[in-house]
C-alpha cells in the first residue's frame, strides 16, 4: 500500500458568482502532491491557477465559492471543514507565500509582531519562546542579524528580504504543504535564484510538499517534480516535469514552451500563441483553446476529456502532439 499523499485534489470547482454572470475560475481540477514533492502549477494570468491555490487554503472570498470537489489533505477533506478547523490548519500545517512581497507584510506592524502572532495563533508558548522561534526562522532563510531585524518595520527591508521574511513566517510551524503563489515573479533574477535554491533546500530537508504557482516555465523546470498546465479554469496537461517540457502533448503547452527563448533554438523566431486568453464569462462550449489552436478541427467544439495518452501523461486534447518529437526541443 502506498503512503497517503500530502494533498489530493479531486474534481475541484470554484466559481465566482458575479453580477455579470458565473465565472468558472476553477472547473474540474484534480491533482496529487506526494510528500516532499513539488508540483508546478503553470498558466497565464486568469487561468485559475491562483484561485486553485486559494481554494486549497480555504481563502476564497465572496462572490467566489467552492461549489464541488474534494481537497484531501493527508486524507482529510478541507472543503468540509468548519472555518475554525480550517483556521487551525492554515499557517500551521498548510502555509502560503504570496506574489508581491511589498504587499504581504502589514506596513504598520513590526516584523516581530507579525511573526510572533503566527506562532501564538497555533501554539500556547511563552512570548519569549515564540520570539526565539521567529529569530531562528529568519536565520534559516538567510537574513543576517535576525535579532535586530525583528524590531524593524517591513518598509525597512528590500523586496527580496521581505519575501524571505514571508517565507520564514510560512516555515514557522514546519508545515506539511506550502502553496507558493508566484513568490519570485516580483523579484530580480539573482534574488529569484537565491530564493529558489533556499526553498528547494528547505523542502528537501523538512519533507514539506510544495505547490509552486507560476507562469514561468524556466522556474518550474528547475524546481518541480510534476507539472500541471492550466488554461481557462481547467488542467490541460499534466505529468512529470521533464517529460512534459521535453515532449508536450497539448498544443497550448507546446505553444508556451515555444514562446520561451531557448539556447537550443537560437536564431529561430520565437513562436507566439496568437490571440488572447478568453474571458471566463463568455466561454463557449468545447475546448477553450481552440480559437487560438493551430491544430483545431471541427470536433474541438466538444470539450475533450483529460486522457492518459501515455503512462503518467494526461492531456485534454482531441489532437495532441503524438508524432515524433523533433519540433519540441
Amino acid at each position: 500500500m502506498t503512503e497517503t499523499p500530502t494533498l489530493e485534489v479531486r474534481n475541484l470547482r470554484t466559481h465566482f458568482f458575479t453580477r455579470a454572470g458565473v465565472v468558472k475560475a476553477v472547473d474540474d481540477v484534480s491533482f496529487t502532491v506526494p510528500r516532499g514533492k513539488v508540483l508546478g502549477l503553470v498558466g497565464e494570468s486568469g487561468s485559475g491557477k491562483s484561485v486553485t491555490g486559494f481554494s486549497v487554503m480555504g481563502l476564497v472570498d465572496p462572490p467566489g465559492r467552492i461549489v464541488d470537489g474534494q481537497i484531501l489533505f493527508k486524507g482529510q477533506d478541507l472543503a468540509k471543514l468548519s472555518d475554525e478547523e480550517m483556521r487551525k490548519l492554515r499557517g500551521n500545517r498548510i502555509a502560503m507565500i504570496f506574489q508581491d512581497p511589498m504587499m504581504t507584510l502589514n506596513p504598520v506592524l513590526r516584523v516581530d509582531t507579525q511573526m510572533i502572532e503566527t506562532v501564538l495563533a497555533h501554539e500556547k508558548v511563552p512570548e519569549a519562546e515564540a520570539r526565539a522561534r521567529a529569530r531562528d526562522a529568519l536565520g534559516m532563510v538567510g537574513i543576517p542579524s535576525p535579532e535586530e531585524r525583528l524590531k524593524s518595520y517591513p518598509h525597512q527591508f528590500s523586496g527580496g528580504m521581505r519575501q524571505r521574511v514571508a517565507i520564514a513566517i510560512a516555515l514557522l510551524h514546519r508545515p506539511d504543504l506550502i502553496v507558493a503563489d508566484e513568490p519570485t515573479t516580483a523579484l530580480d533574477v539573482t534574488i529569484q535564484g537565491q530564493i529558489l535554491a533556499e526553498v528547494q533546500k528547505l523542502a528537501a530537508t523538512t519533507g514539506t510538499s510544495l505547490i509552486w504557482i507560476t507562469h514561468d516555465l524556466s522556474v518550474v523546470a528547475g524546481l518541480a517534480d510534476d507539472i500541471a498546465v492550466m488554461y481557462a479554469g481547467k488542467i490541460v496537461e499534466q505529468g512529470d516535469v521533464g517529460e512534459v517540457l521535453d515532449h508536450p502533448l497539448h498544443p497550448y503547452t507546446h505553444g508556451l514552451i515555444g514562446s520561451v527563448p531557448s539556447r537550443n533554438r537560437r536564431g529561430e523566431p520565437l513562436r507566439q500563441i496568437p490571440g488572447m486568453t478568453p474571458s471566463l464569462l463568455s466561454l463557449k462550449p468545447g475546448c477553450a483553446f481552440r480559437a487560438r489552436c493551430p491544430r483545431a478541427q471541427e470536433d474541438c467544439a466538444e470539450m475533450p476529456e483529460l486522457h492518459a495518452w501515455m503512462p503518467g501523461r494526461l492531456a485534454r486534447c482531441h489532437h495532441p502532439h503524438l508524432e515524433p518529437r523533433e519540433e519540441a526541443a
Binding site: 483556521r87 504570496f98 507584510l105 502589514n106 506596513p107
Partner: protein, 323 residues
C-alpha cells in the same frame, strides 16, 4: 525631524501674520472704525479727539503696526458691551466650548468607528445599508434643525434632558467643567450629540472606505493565511491601518467642530465663545470679533501642527522620512 518641525512653525507664523492682516483690513478698513470704536452719542470734537487718540489719522500701514504691537502684548481692545478686555472675555468662555467640542469629537469616534467597521466588514447586509443611508442623512441634516428636534423630543415631549444651559459644574485644573457632575453631564449630552452628528457620518464613511480598501490588501489575506483568528485580523491588522486616516481627519476636524459649535451653542444656550461671537456680530462688538478670530486662527494652526506630529507617530513610514 527638527528641521521639519521648524519649517512647519515658520509656515504657521506666516499664516498667523496673513490672517492678522486680513482681520485688520476687514475690521479697520472695510468697516468704518470711527463708527465702530467710538460711541455714537459723541459730538464732533469728541470724535476728532478720539480719532487722534486711537491713531486713526495715521496711514493704514502705521495703524496696522500699532494694532500688531498691541496684539502681541495681548491687547485686542475692550468690548463695547461688557467693557472688559476682549481677549479676557473670549478666554473665559473657551473652556465651555472646548468641553463641548471634545465631547462631540469623542462621541463621533465612539459611535462612528464601530458603525463604520460593521458597514465595511458586511457591506451587503441590511444593517450596513441602513448605516450608510443614515450617514447621508447625517450629512444632509442641517445641524441647527436637528438641535431643535432634539430639544423638542427629549426636553419638551419626553422631559428626559434639560433643554439649555450648562448645568452644575465642578472645578478641575482650575476650570469649571460640566462633565464632572451628573447634572452637567445631562446638560452636555444633547449639545454634544448635536455637534457630533456630522462628524459621526464622516467617521462612518471614512472607516467603511478604509476597511473595504484594507480588506482587499494582500497583507490581510496573508494574515488570514497565517491562521490568525478573524478577531485579530480585524482588530490588529485592519484596524491599525484605518486608524491613521481616522485619527488624522478627526483631529483636523476638531477645529471645524469648534467653529460649528457656534450654531450648537446658540441653540442650547451653551455659554461658550461661539455664543459670544454671534451676540457680538449682532451688536457689532468688533474688538470681541477680532479677538475671537485671532484666537481661533491660533487654535487652528496649533491643531494642524499637533495632528501632523501625531500622524507621523502613528505611521512608521512617515516617521522614517521625517528623520
Amino acid at each position: 525631524m527638527s528641521v521639519y518641525l521648524l519649517r512647519r512653525l515658520i509656515q504657521a507664523l506666516g499664516v498667523v501674520f496673513a490672517m492678522s492682516v486680513i482681520v485688520f483690513i476687514g475690521v479697520y478698513a472695510i468697516g468704518d472704525p470711527v463708527e465702530i470704536l467710538i460711541s455714537p452719542d459723541a459730538d464732533q470734537i469728541e470724535r476728532e479727539r478720539a480719532v487722534r487718540a486711537l491713531g486713526l489719522d495715521l496711514p493704514l500701514w502705521q495703524q496696522y503696526l500699532v494694532f500688531l504691537g498691541k496684539a502681541l502684548r495681548g491687547d485686542l481692545g475692550n468690548s463695547f458691551v461688557f467693557n472688559e478686555p476682549a481677549l479676557q472675555l473670549i478666554l473665559q468662555r473657551m473652556p465651555a466650548t472646548l468641553e463641548l467640542a471634545i465631547a462631540a469629537t469623542f462621541g463621533a469616534v465612539l459611535i462612528g468607528l464601530p458603525l463604520g467597521l460593521y458597514a465595511g466588514l458586511r457591506p451587503n447586509s441590511v444593517g450596513s445599508k441602513a448605516i450608510m443611508a443614515g450617514s447621508i442623512l447625517g450629512f444632509s441634516l442641517p445641524t441647527f434643525w436637528v438641535g431643535l428636534m432634539l430639544i423638542m423630543v427629549f426636553a419638551v415631549q419626553l422631559g428626559w434632558l434639560p433643554s439649555t444651559g450648562r448645568g452644575d459644574t465642578a472645578e478641575f485644573l482650575g476650570l469649571q467643567w460640566s462633565f464632572l457632575t451628573l447634572d452637567g453631564l445631562s446638560h452636555l449630552l444633547m449639545p454634544a450629540l448635536n455637534l457630533a452628528l456630522f462628524k459621526i457620518s464622516l467617521v462612518i464613511r471614512l472607516t467603511r472606505a478604509g476597511v473595504r480598501e484594507t480588506m482587499l490588501m494582500d497583507y490581510v489575506k496573508f494574515a488570514r493565511a497565517k491562521g490568525l483568528s478573524p478577531f485579530r485580523v480585524t482588530f490588529v491588522h485592519v484596524f491599525k491601518n484605518i486608524l491613521i486616516p481616522v485619527v488624522t481627519v478627526t483631529g483636523l476636524e476638531f477645529g471645524s467642530t469648534i467653529a460649528f459649535s457656534v450654531v450648537t451653542e446658540s441653540i442650547f444656550a451653551w455659554p461658550g465663545m461661539g455664543k459670544l461671537i454671534i451676540d457680538s456680530i449682532n451688536v457689532l462688538d468688533r474688538p470681541v470679533i477680532v479677538a475671537y478670530l485671532m484666537i481661533i486662527v491660533l487654535l487652528f494652526i496649533t491643531i494642524n501642527l499637533i495632528v501632523d506630529l501625531t500622524y507621523s507617530l502613528l505611521d512608521p513610514r512617515v516617521r522614517l522620512e521625517g528623520k
